[in-house]
Symmetry: C2
Subunit: 321 residues, 2 copies
């Protein structure tokens, strides 16, 4: 999950000086924000500060981040003609600022902890492009998928190609692992995932630089996990709405898992946080290939000292200070 965020005073101080998109594009500032949780919280890896929608902007659909309103796309992709107009993008020139951020972070980390890059998964990015923003029912997406499956496939292929080049660019710049976020995939039935998403996700994972671990994460995926595993990834991310032991057995113990702690637990006191962290670790049973993490992002109202307490608790309980 993104580690930097509004729950940290250091982040808010930098964020106050620029818009969200400006912050992402300013490699100096984005690198600084990436490093804040490493210095402040003692986490075991740095997570690139960026946004899953940065890749949307070069397609020229009009991406904006309204103050407090979330992202919006002014020219949504609604039909075959809109899809046909989307050309391949020049990732190196249009998203080079992200690769610069990666290089800067790597240099500043000097090997202290590894750096994880990331991108949005094609379905989730396509959902934003088609719906024009966040959605509850994803009706435009489903209309496109069910009504004009060829156009849907073309849109997904376009995004797979761009996303693979984007992630490989991050790897070339120094990212030691990459995460693919399929944040909205939980709206699909298993049948629809198999028909409209799985082949594209397989293609994406097959295009990634070999030898670099890839993390495959989504939310609301209790029924999709075996299919996500089939699609690819060395680590399957679990949200908080599954039992870790059961989910790991379903995806297979030959793949690693991460995630699962309910983020709202961090609003409770450290005694309660310890109890819940213990439960996640017990479900993992000390098995190699378990990476402790939250099941989704950190809520902005979370006290930063609770996040720090969690990191310390996990280090203590897993005997890795």
């Amino acid at each position: 999950m993104r580690q930097a965020g509004r729950y940290m005073a250091e982040y808010r101080a930098i964020r106050a000086r620029s818009s969200f998109l400006e912050l992402c594009k300013n490699s100096d500032a984005a690198a600084e924000v990436t490093l804040q949780p490493v210095d402040k919280l003692g986490v075991d890896a740095a997570i690139l500060f960026a946004d899953i929608l940065l890749i949307v902007e070069p397609f020229g659909v009009g991406l904006t981040f309204g103050a407090g309103e979330g992202p919006s796309i002014t020219r949504p992709v609604r039909g075959e003609a809109d899809v046909a107009r989307l050309g391949p993008i020049d990732v190196a020139s249009s998203l080079g600022f992200v690769f610069d951020t990666v290089s800067r972070v790597k240099k500043a980390l000097a090997g202290r902890v590894p750096l994880i890059g990331f991108a949005g998964a094609p379905f989730t990015v396509a959902s934003y492009m088609v719906e024009g923003g966040a959605s509850r029912d994803y009706l435009h997406v489903k209309r496109l998928m069910y009504g004009t499956p060829q156009a849907w496939d073309r849109l997904m292929e376009t995004l797979v190609d761009a996303t693979a080049r984007y992630l490989n660019g991050q790897i070339a710049a120094g990212a030691e692992a990459v995460q693919v976020f399929d944040s909205w995939i939980g709206t699909l039935s298993p049948d629809d995932y198999r028909a409209f998403v799985l082949p594209h996700m397989s293609a994406l994972f097959s295009k990634l630089t070999p030898g670099v671990p890839a993390i495959h994460f989504g939310t609301g995926t209790a029924a999709l996990l075996p299919l996500m595993r089939e699609a690819g990834g060395d680590v399957i991310g679990l949200d908080w709405r599954v039992d870790l032991a059961e989910a790991w057995a379903r995806v297979g113990h030959d793949v690693a898992v991460q995630g699962n702690l309910e983020p709202a637990v961090l609003l409770g006191d450290p005694v309660y946080i310890r109890k819940r962290a213990q439960r996640v670790l017990a479900a993992a049973g000390g098995r190699p290939g378990h990476i402790f993490n939250l099941g989704h992002g950190i809520h902005k109202d979370t006290p930063v000292e609770h996040v720090k307490a969690l990191v310390d608790i996990v280090h203590e309980l897993s005997d890795r200070r």
Copy 2:
């Protein structure tokens, strides 16, 4: 699912004359709206027209339905003191209009098809009362659950008691089955469901009039289904994000299931609708105890003739014209 709604011209005509809450409280109009889908679509059962939040109003927390904005509660229940103030409500006097609607519908149906009553499940109703409206993260609810579990249990007990009397009142007035909607339960992990919800749902089902089938439905429940079955209900409702055959095997074939068709399919043409309906029926495998239904409510943009086509297709394919 609620059958009447904005996708029907007959509903919009009646709805134009009053607010949503006025319509619910006008037993004549609510009965008329309940009967519209029976007459127009040929469905096999009538579903009471009401709202899961009607039960909230007698608690005096200030329920309003803003135009197009969904429900809002002006005095949300945020802590122990708020919970302690919630007295038992007089269901017969405060919700008698719903029982009147049931009686009127029963009389008008004259045995043509059975009538299904319903209520919101305590967790979902509590979520509205605590959050003050719809929520994305349910942070206030989770704070209350994790931080003051006794207050949470008391809130749930208050709602279980009121909901049981409300459903039994519908049954006494003539409802031949009842459905309990736990619409927002999908935000909880299996552990949290077991600790904070399951005992209360068991209590609710044990208080319902014996011999009347109860349907237990939620959305986003892929990981919760076995626990929901353990809690109670003669029929387990499935949303569209699970595989019906797999889900039925998990809850056990000694319980009936309903639901599962992706509602967005109804935006497609009847040829596509037939294909998807066939797939649901194939997953059910002709096993007794399968009730065909959507996996969630009908979207307002759905063409009414598509809904009619689905009813006809299901009757034809299941050989029950």
